[in-house]
């Protein structure tokens, strides 16, 4: 299985080699999409994690022992459908093409699976329809 997760680290754990253990002990492959670390505040990391389902489950449990909060990325990215006007401006900055135009209807389709949570769409959306809740 493959999943995009947000990991939130408590401030006192940033000096520990935590995610390394996901590879070493749980045979998980990860790809870091985004990371924001600070020794003085809570930190976060967005990554795609791939591996056996059982290993994935155990890996997440291991992270809990370090007080790392984990959640799938979808819960933190959303489009306000009432505000979106399907202008297409967001598609011009979305490199992974999570936001792309359906050429038949010319509407903007949002595919969570492809999103890397870069937040560029949030900045450029003229009507502020895209929301990403990271802290």
């Amino acid at each position: 299985m493959k999943k995009r997760m947000i990991l939130r680290f408590k401030r006192n754990t940033v000096d520990k080699p935590i995610v390394y253990r996901l590879v070493k002990d749980y045979d998980l492959i990860f790809n870091i999409l985004r990371a924001n670390f600070s020794p003085r505040a809570d930190s976060m990391m967005v990554m795609e994690i791939e591996g056996e389902e059982e290993n994935f489950r155990k890996g997440m449990e291991y992270l809990k022992t370090w007080n790392v909060d984990t959640e799938p990325i979808e819960q933190d990215i959303s489009r306000n459908e009432a505000r979106c006007v399907h202008c297409g401006v967001c598609t011009s900055v979305c490199t992974p093409e999570a936001l792309a135009i359906d050429r038949k209807t010319m509407k903007v389709i949002f595919n969570y699976e492809k999103c890397v949570a870069c937040e560029l769409c949030v900045k450029v959306c003229p009507v502020k329809a895209m929301n990403v809740f990271f802290d």
Partner: protein
């Protein structure tokens, strides 16, 4: 040949044949322009894009004691409104921003809330904070007021947009080597993206390219309500490059439009922020085109492949007012998602919403089909090609030399 009066009779009797501009393309493919002209009475168009040339007049009513806001200062949700008119009349423009907005001091600025947002909030029925400051006179002694206004407690509120509905527009690319933030969106360096802004085959003035039916006085769909064409828009420039059949291949005609804001809604007027550029307003505009004869059937049935636009560099040329077209492309190519310039494939991105434009054309079609909306003869045509309009530029003049 049909007249607008005959078409209106059909609308009243519920016998009108009204189709969207998209449907007209297919009908004409089947029946030819002659057949389509006989069959179809009205073609509806639509567009929904950011239009900075928009704003709203309001009469606030008089306070007790009275205040002369005219000549003073006035803020709606902190956004400054124009007060240089009568005592309690104001105008809020789409691009106005609060005095304490950081603008582009930290580049690129966000421009989170401006005049366009005030207009959206107002037509959506929200309460708007009003602060007005003035100097006090014998007849208007008050110097300050702070209160809330909304759709129900002001007198008149009407949109008056001096420039909407551009007949065609530039395609923007960026030949410089840095990312730029423009009113055409974010443009990648070295021509790695191309942004365009027109509803193409749904766009009102592209479907009546010689202004035969769309003119001053024409009743239109505006912001979800009914409006009228008040005048030709600012920078109306009919004498641009046109194809052999007269269709403009660059930004040409524009419209000044007016309409009761109290009957409009936030679905078709949306406040917008263009990163690094400013605040503006997405305006929904729809215009019915009567199919008076075969020529109108021909024009209304032109498709995205028949409409051309000029590719312009916004990195170096545009800011320096260098009018240069890099090449021409069709809306068919633009809508496919890539264009090719000098052998280079460039992804294309729209700024104006085609799906919203279609929604507007469909809504207008329904209004006409249900007999709620009658067509109008223009009171006066818009100035056409050869009418002597030329676009002036702003030069730094020295009085002695003029």
């Amino acid at each position: 040949m049909k007249t607008i009066e005959e078409i209106n009779e059909k609308i009243k009797k519920g016998k009108v044949v009204v189709v969207t501009a998209e449907e007209m393309i297919e009908i004409t493919k089947e029946k030819g322009t002659k057949g389509a002209a006989q069959h179809v009475d009205v073609v509806t168009t639509g567009t929904f894009g950011p239009m900075c040339g928009s704003g709203m007049f309001m009469n606030l009513g008089h306070s007790k004691p009275r205040i002369k806001i005219g000549g003073g200062r006035c803020y709606l949700n902190d956004v400054p409104a124009y007060t240089g008119i009568a005592a309690v009349d104001i105008y809020i423009g789409a691009t106005a921003i609060p005095e304490d907005d950081p603008r582009n001091t930290v580049y690129p600025g966000a421009f989170k809330y401006g005049g366009g947002h005030v207009i959206e909030d107002f037509v959506s029925g929200k309460n708007i904070n009003l602060v007005a400051l003035s100097y006090g006179t014998d007849c208007y002694p008050r110097k300050k007021i702070e209160t809330f206004i909304n759709k129900d407690n002001v007198n008149e509120a009407y949109l008056y947009n001096p420039r909407n509905g551009y007949q065609n527009y530039n395609v923007a690319v960026n030949l410089s080597n840095r990312v730029i933030h423009t009113y055409m969106g974010v443009l990648k360096p070295n021509m790695n993206s191309a942004n365009y802004c027109s509803a193409g085959q749904l766009s009102p003035l592209l479907k009546d390219p010689l202004y035969r039916t769309i003119g001053i006085g024409t009743r239109i769909f505006l912001g979800g309500g009914i409006g009228y064409i008040a005048w030709y828009g600012t920078q109306h420039n009919p004498d641009v490059l046109r194809g052999p059949d007269g269709i403009p291949r660059a930004g040409a005609g524009t419209l000044a439009v007016i309409g009761d804001a109290k009957n409009m809604n936030g679905m078709f007027l949306k406040g917008a922020s263009f990163i690094g550029y400013g605040a503006t307003l997405f305006v929904g505009l729809g215009i019915p085109i009567p199919i008076l004869d075969e020529e109108m059937a021909y024009y209304t049935s032109r498709s995205d492949d028949d409409f051309w636009a000029q590719v312009v560099d916004y990195g170096i040329d545009y800011p320096d007012r260098v009018s240069k077209s890099l090449c021409e492309v069709t809306y068919g190519q633009l809508k496919s998602g890539t264009i090719t310039i000098n052998g280079k494939e460039i992804p294309t991105f729209p700024i104006s919403s085609y799906s919203k434009a279609l929604e507007i054309a469909t809504l207008l079609k329904n209004w006409i089909g249900e007999g709620q909306f009658l067509l109008t003869n223009p009171v006066q045509p818009l100035p056409g090609a050869g009418s002597g309009i030329k676009i002036n530029t702003l030069e730094e003049r020295i009085l002695e030399s003029i």
